[in-house]
């Protein structure tokens, strides 16, 4: 076995260097400001959770969890998402104090990967959870907040596609002959395998009216139609009614230009029970984030209240947003030892003016010119003897 070199990091882990750190900090503060003014309260949860509580309930597959064992032999996981820990805290404590809860987070999450670059195993996520409100207005608020947040990062070319787990499952159930067939078709839609969907429908040997309807539905639904266009495929359905009122609210609020309805949208996350959505932007090859209503997750924690929310991946937001230029007036004050107090006075003054000041003695460095090259302004307190 080869030994580990000192510059190596575990697969998928990244270092954040100072210039990137400043930019991420800007993203964080922009986002925090925006969510804070909407009454979302920021929350922090532990990085490590029990596998039996958070690990199992999480939507992230088992193989992608980082697992550890504590001294009592319990299996622990590094949190793979923030929704599950927040659902745990909310159901066990917060909901007893106030309902509904509007919670926000900016946190690193961990998902193991063994493949290749471009997929960090640890990354920051920013998002909100609105817990304890079952109304369509809660879902609208979450979508509008996601859109405002994306706009707040100066991303202009983006789209939010919204679907509904209930509408899709109704259609799949109505036009197939068994539960397995519907599940199989749903799996293919999760993978967005439209070729496979067509093949499967034909292979099921369904009555012609059913298979024709399914194929026509897929053909039409992937073109992002209006809600009216897919009405003919669904019998009177509460979920569709719900989506119509959601669309009306988003229209009235002036968000219609950013949204599209996609009734083939499906998630591998079984706890998404209602509306679900994904955020895409040009500039990143991967979705910026996703969200939806996840009443099913809270039920796993023994609570009957509804919950909805979204999370954005900060690394992808960073890719999609315009380049951030951070201009700082960095000042270097160099001093000879006997002029320490005099130099310190100047430094204090400059810092009070809000300048970023580095205070460095000549004694501590060898290559003075090389250090000076890193700063815009250099203020020197040289030894008087020289």
């Amino acid at each position: 076995m080869s030994s580990i070199k000192m510059f190596e990091k575990p697969l998928g882990m990244r270092d954040t260097f100072p210039d990137i750190y400043e930019k991420l900090e800007l993203i964080r503060s922009t986002g925090r400001q925006l969510l804070h003014t909407r009454g979302y309260e920021f929350i922090k949860t532990p990085s490590v959770e029990y596998y039996d509580t958070v690990g199992k309930a999480s939507a992230i597959s088992d193989a992608r969890l980082f697992k550890l064992v504590d001294s009592q032999g319990n299996t622990l996981v590094l949190r793979p998402d923030m929704t599950t820990p927040i659902a745990r805290v909310a159901t066990s404590k917060l909901l007893k104090e106030k309902i509904p809860q509007r919670l926000a987070y900016f946190a690193n999450v961990f998902r193991a990967q063994q493949r290749e670059g471009g997929r960090p195993a640890e990354f920051d996520q920013m998002g909100i959870e609105l817990i304890g409100d079952n109304s369509v207005f809660a879902d609208a608020e979450v979508i509008m907040t996601a859109i405002d947040l994306v706009k707040g990062f100066n991303i202009t070319d983006f789209k939010v596609t919204i679907g509904h787990a209930g509408v899709l499952s109704r259609i799949l159930k109505d036009y197939t002959e068994s539960e397995e067939q519907a599940l199989h078709l749903n799996d293919l839609l999760v993978q967005r395998n439209f070729v496979g969907f067509e093949e499967a429908v034909l292979a099921f040997d369904l009555p012609k009216t059913k298979s024709d309807a399914l194929l026509a539905y897929i053909e039409e639904a992937i073109r992002l139609p209006s809600i009216e266009a897919i009405e003919k495929y669904v019998r009177k359905n509460d979920a569709l009614e719900y989506m119509r009122s959601l669309a009306k609210i988003l229209d009235a609020a002036g968000y219609d230009e950013y949204i599209a309805f996609d009734f083939t949208l499906s998630s591998h996350m079984s706890y998404y029970t209602g509306m679900l959505f994904e955020v895409f932007a040009s500039g990143s090859g991967f979705p910026l984030g996703n969200g939806g209503r996840y009443d099913g997750l809270l039920q796993q924690f023994g609570s009957q209240v509804g919950a909805t929310g979204f999370g954005l991946r900060v690394d992808r937001v960073f890719e999609a947003m315009p380049k951030i230029e951070i201009v700082t007036d960095s000042v270097l004050v160099l001093f000879a030892s006997e002029r320490f107090s005099e130099a310190l006075q100047t430094v204090k003054l400059l810092r009070e003016q809000g300048k970023q000041v580095t205070f460095q003695s000549y004694e501590g460095i060898e290559n003075i010119e090389a250090l000076k090259a890193h700063y815009k302004i250099v203020n020197e307190f040289k030894s008087r003897e020289a």
Partner: protein
């Protein structure tokens, strides 16, 4: 019109797919010079082609540096990348099968399977309840059973000639393969008009 980047596999599939695009009415030069160029730009249609190894097409598409691509179903099954599979172009049709020396059974202890497709092979044998060990090779897979490296091979078969010439017979049919049009999930949304237009036009040319 937005720019569209298409990842294409080099070689025969490129030619067949290019023919289909011409047939679908895209304004492309009749002949493309397939020298050593890796990118071809068609300014009239705002399309650029990336020429990649067949195995690499889904990589470019998944990372979004190509909006769409043409990839074999074998590669898609093997790599399971997050891309949308939009259309079966029904070109370069073949299938994946297992093969071995005639009239042989697999070894009782840990039978060995040589293949270029370790994931497909493992999934198939798991599915039928066979416990096998996979040996990954990069080419000339037919050698493996002949010289006793493996009991079976899992590979693509188009005419069956290579198998026959090396004295092997086909045992199990595993999956159908043909070239598929795939799309990056973000491009699929952000450039949906262009991609839908392409799908509709190509669909008419599928034979």
């Amino acid at each position: 019109m937005t720019e569209l980047t298409i990842a294409m596999p080099k070689g025969r599939i490129f030619e067949e797919a290019y023919e289909m695009l011409l047939e679908a009415g895209f304004n492309l030069p009749e002949e493309v010079e397939m020298s050593r160029k890796l990118m071809i730009e068609i300014p009239e249609e705002k399309i650029s082609f990336i020429l990649a190894k067949p195995m690499d097409v889904p990589v470019y598409v998944e990372h979004g540096v190509a909006d769409i691509g043409i990839a074999g179903k074998d590669v898609l099954l093997e790599q399971r990348r997050t891309v949308h599979e939009l259309l079966d172009l029904k070109i370069s049709e073949c299938y994946i099968a297992s093969a071995g020396l005639p009239n042989t059974t697999m070894s009782e202890i840990a039978p060995r399977i040589a293949t270029k497709y370790p994931n497909i092979a493992l999934k198939y044998y798991k599915g039928i309840g066979e416990q096998v060990e996979i040996i990954e090779l990069n080419g000339s897979i037919e050698l493996a059973p002949m010289i006793g490296l493996a009991d079976r091979i899992v590979d693509i078969v188009s005419t069956g000639r290579t198998l026959k010439e090396n004295g092997l017979v086909e045992y199990e049919h595993i999956a159908e393969v043909s070239s598929r049009l795939i799309a990056n999930p973000v491009s699929y949304r952000m450039k949906s008009d262009r991609i839908q237009d392409l799908v509709t036009r190509l669909k008419k040319c599928v034979k």
